[in-house]
């Protein structure tokens, strides 16, 4: 299984994430954070992440999605957002009929798919900062993203709690009280 995994192209790895999320992921931020969380709990695809405006971001994943679309593995629909920008919906063949999965990777993705994207961004950012060595990653997240944190930090912590409750090869950083 591991050999099979590592021999896949980046595009195929990106498709696998959407596939395991039930065949649809709404938003590039959600896709990026989903891939990041999988990565840090040992269920990822090997994409490298760095800190960007919306928290952990992988250029490799962004490129892989473009290639996957060009190759026809996924479809991307762009829609106007209420705030004036646009957002994307990614679709790929789903892995099952939508039943709740017991597999950790799919359970994580199912949780992420339903999450508020702002809360997800904050939760992923806090995890990233914890791994960077910040002793109080939630406070640092608030400092960096005060406008978002003012309204969504509690939701982010709750989401983090849900994600942490799923048993994974590597536990999420322990940053909740």
């Amino acid at each position: 299984m591991e050999t099979l995994r590592s021999s896949r192209s980046d595009a195929e790895k990106a498709v696998a994430i959407i596939h395991d999320a039930g065949g649809e992921i709404v938003g590039k931020t959600r896709l990026q954070k989903a891939a990041y969380i999988l990565e840090i709990v040992g269920l990822g695809e090997g994409f490298a992440f760095e800190y960007r405006h919306y928290g952990p971001f992988s250029e490799e994943l962004a490129r892989a999605v473009v290639v996957a679309e060009v190759q026809g593995y996924i479809a991307q629909e762009e829609r106007p957002a209420t705030w004036g920008g646009t957002y994307s919906i990614f679709r790929a063949p789903a892995n099952d009929s939508g039943a709740v999965s017991a597999v950790p990777r799919e359970r994580l993705l199912q949780t992420v798919v339903k999450a508020n994207p702002v809360a997800l961004e904050l939760a992923a950012t806090a995890a990233y900062l914890a791994r960077e060595g910040y002793s109080n990653p939630w406070a640092e997240t608030y400092r960096r993203k005060p406008d978002k944190a003012a309204h969504f930090l509690e939701a982010a912590k709750e989401l983090y709690r849900q994600l942490s409750s799923i048993k994974t090869p590597i536990a999420l950083p322990c940053i909740l009280d």
């Binding site: 590039k28 004036g84 920008g85 508020n116 961004e121 960096r144």
Partner: protein, 469 residues
């Protein structure tokens, strides 16, 4: 306290003044540090001088130009935020960040970073090096003269790790001081006549306004950013078109990229040999800064010892290397005997003319050719690779999506009648809407490499046959 008045003569901005005050005195001290003076020995455009002989300007001159431009942008911020909205401390952090933002660049900047990525060398990443230099060392000390936490604040602005705000937009946005300096300076110094921008008009029409932003489909709130008055629409279009043209003709020029490819191969080989205890094969002495960096790439001091002069000077030693790959590549670079460039996109466009291809289908055809070439290269390895593939892509302007750098990275226009929220320039400009990312697909090979030519030709024939059976 007595502060002195300082001036610098600049080819782009003419006189750049450092008035007699505490802030400018600290900035002048930053310029005198070893780390900043090193930028005199790092060219702004690396190998571009192989194409444009005048492009020998340095990151030193550019950095001071960015600082000067940032002060002009900050005057706009101050005018619009007024008293008590304008925050002097935040403004100072951003202005200082403008001055030091390029401190960490290595020799031949981008080519060196490519080597760093390939070999996972921590201190080849200019952002990491800059972060260390701003927080520590002589620059950190000079900045700390303005307050104990000032150096950390400046580092956060450079790293974009702080709260995104209009002050940060001066250093990082579509209209940041970095870009506004380099589009003008690089045009001037290369001598190209492409890419002219109407800087004075843009600046004269620049204001601060509030725009909405969100994450995916969810609205978050409003943020202050730069907006342009309606009379600057065509200047904004020219600015983006100018960027596109500079990418095509200067930054991603086929010859410059070809030289960078050879440089990367040469340096990767040198570092690998140095790390496998084969320094004697590299042509360099053990004490050479390149060897020291290869042995301990995690040491900041080793990264600081590298600049264009050190690496460029090493080439005359490396031509005598026992390793044939290093000797060959360094001779190529020394004598400007670069590999031949084959433009795969152009060839496919020509060969597939008459076939109705959607953009995605054309990109898929390119990917398919690339895959064949990569597979063949894996099966046919040799010291100096037969094929060096280069596929740069540079989006010139993205409308605001969650993948962009956020609301501060858009060009927002003020409505003509002054009421309503600013809107993205791409909504009203057909020109901006039509600008596609700059993409290239080039393959470099040695002039007489018949194997390379044959596999290129066969790979393209195979793809063309799919569409023109």
């Amino acid at each position: 306290m007595n502060f002195s008045f300082q001036r610098i003569r600049d080819p782009l901005h003419n006189v750049i003044e450092f008035p007699r005050d505490e802030f400018h005195d600290a900035m002048w001290k930053v310029i005198q540090t070893r780390e900043f003076q090193r930028l005199r020995r790092v060219k702004q455009l690396g190998f571009s001088e192989l194409v444009y002989p005048g492009a020998t300007h340095t990151r030193f001159a550019h950095s001071i130009g960015v600082f000067h431009t940032a002060r002009k942008l900050m005057e706009v911020v101050k005018r619009y935020l007024g008293d008590p909205g304008y925050q002097e401390t935040k403004a100072r952090s951003s202005l200082a960040a403008a001055l030091v933002h390029d401190l960490g660049h290595g020799p031949y900047s981008h080519a060196f970073e490519d080597v760093g990525r390939r070999l996972n060398l921590t201190m080849a990443d200019h952002e990491k090096v800059t972060d260390h230099l701003v927080r520590e060392g002589e620059v950190g000390s000079a900045l700390s003269g303005l307050g104990s936490g000032f150096a950390a604040d400046v580092a956060d602005v450079v790293k974009k790790a702080g709260h995104a705000s209009i002050y940060g937009a001066v250093v990082s946005s579509q209209f940041d001081a970095d870009r506004l300096d380099y589009v003008q300076r690089d045009r001037l110094m290369t001598g190209t006549h492409h890419g002219a921008i109407d800087f004075s008009w843009l600046l004269s029409n620049l204001e601060v306004g509030e725009v909405s932003y969100g994450v995916d489909g969810v609205a978050v709130g409003k943020i202050e950013t730069f907006v342009l008055g309606p009379k600057a629409l065509h200047a904004a279009e020219a600015y983006l078109l100018g960027l596109f043209q500079l990418y095509a003709t200067v930054y991603l020029h086929k010859t410059t990229r070809g030289a960078e490819k050879l440089f990367s191969e040469m340096l990767v080989r040198t570092i690998e040999l140095a790390r496998s205890n084969s320094v004697t094969k590299t042509g360099l002495p053990k004490s050479h800064p390149i060897i020291q960096f290869a042995k301990h790439p995690e040491k900041l001091e080793n990264a600081l010892d590298l600049d264009d002069l050190v690496v460029g000077g090493a080439i005359s030693l490396m031509v005598h290397a026992k390793d044939p790959v290093i000797a060959a590549l360094s001779k190529n670079l020394r004598d400007r005997r670069l590999f031949k460039c084959f433009d795969v996109r152009e060839c496919l466009y020509q060969r597939l003319s008459g076939v109705e291809l959607a953009e995605k289908e054309f990109e898929a055809a390119c990917l398919s050719v690339e895959r064949r070439l990569l597979d063949w290269s894996k099966e046919n390895p040799q010291g100096v690779p037969h094929l060096l593939i280069d596929k740069p892509e540079r989006p010139i302007y993205k409308t605001m999506t969650e993948e962009s750098k956020g609301p501060l990275d858009q060009i927002m226009m003020k409505p003509t009648h002054g009421t309503g929220e600013p809107f993205d320039v791409a909504l009203v400009s057909q020109v901006v809407k039509a600008i596609r990312p700059f993409r290239a697909f080039r393959v470099y090979h040695e002039k007489g490499d018949e194997k390379a030519k044959r596999v290129l030709s066969e790979s393209i024939d195979e793809e063309v046959l799919k569409w023109k059976p």
